[in-house]
Symmetry: C2
Subunit: 168 residues, 2 copies
DNA sequence: GCGTTTTTACTCGGATACTAACTGTCCGAGTGCTTTCGG
DNA sequence: CCGAAAGCACTCGGACAGTTAGTATCCGAGTAAAAACGC
């Protein structure tokens, strides 16, 4: 049970935007150069983030994407939900009701009880991630309060750096 | 992000065994009749549960499967881990280190911070599920303390009951 | 100059192909109870 | 009778096929800023 690769990419995009000089949007080209994935697949991810209201897109010349709100107000949970949809770990395909179908009202009660248990667990997970803001994550990495802003559109990647291989 | 179909089936099998007269194992045939899935795939699930030490198998004539320990000592978390392996929701494919590869020591720090955050969330999820025992789930459904035991090998399924369709 | 047209650099969104994890199938081997059979 | 052999009803575990969610690709359309153009 894992989050998707798409989520990890989305998180990076948010990190990129959070350290980007506001007002200036980042073009999808620049994002692609850094993330090294499928150009068009990234655009689908970006679209999801736009729909979720985490980022905004500007079309036209010198357009691109920017953060829709302050990094202090974007939580990890929001990124998860934007890319994965609502979190519900118990699949609930109705197996309990199938297996115990000759004990009918009870089998449905059992389904309810187990759904409840997993829902509670999911709540705890979500609740914790909703306390972790993007701002806090960045501050924790830098180890200082003020986040330096850049214009990623300018900075070329040093191509002498070997491309780190992604884990299997 | 969901648990697999296999987990839901495994949970049903545990429920079946938890209401089974101890000493008498349930044959894989009977389990299959109830769960209605792939005969041999169920056996793979059963194998996982055996390896995890949740159930035991008896080979030979009139063999089958029984619970390895008291339902009070089997938690939902154990079933999850038996079927899914260790829970680690953040994929950690190394995208952060890739995207910010020209800020090297820092990018690794960021990876660590986010891993830490998700690990913490996972812990909360696991911790909660480890408090939910199979016994407690069953008691909650029945609404009474003593769980009636049956020999599922005997009880035929009333075939007049229409097979409930599984959700997509 | 100043308004209009063209160019350019982007995003939007649907249709479709690829891929890997999950699910399902097949088959030969091993194990222990039960039945059969020879003496 | 009684011990050994055969049969039976199970599990074990590897190799491989099918399915589906997630990932990747293609392409035509739309949009807004900047540049070019005409008078």
């Amino acid at each position: 049970m894992q989050l998707t690769k798409g989520f990890e990419q989305a998180a990076c995009i948010i990190a990129l935007l959070a350290t980007q000089n506001r007002q200036i949007p980042i073009s999808s080209q620049v994002i692609h150069d850094r993330v090294n994935g499928s150009q068009t697949y990234l655009q689908k991810l970006l679209r999801k983030l736009v729909v979720a209201g985490l980022i905004t897109s500007a079309s036209g010349n010198s357009g691109g994407f920017s953060l829709a709100k302050d990094p202090k107000e974007i939580t990890l949970l929001e990124i998860v939900q934007a890319t994965e949809g609502e979190i519900k770990t118990y699949p609930d395909l109705g197996f309990i009701d199938l297996v115990f179908r000759d004990f009918r009202p009870l089998s449905q009660e059992a389904t309810h009880v187990i759904n409840q248990a997993f829902h509670q667990a999911d709540q705890l997970w979500c609740q914790y991630l909703s306390t972790k803001t993007v701002y806090q994550i960045i501050v924790d990495t830098f180890g200082k309060e003020d986040i330096p802003l850049v214009d990623w559109n300018d900075s070329k990647i040093d191509s002498s750096l070997i491309l780190p291989k992604l884990k299997k």
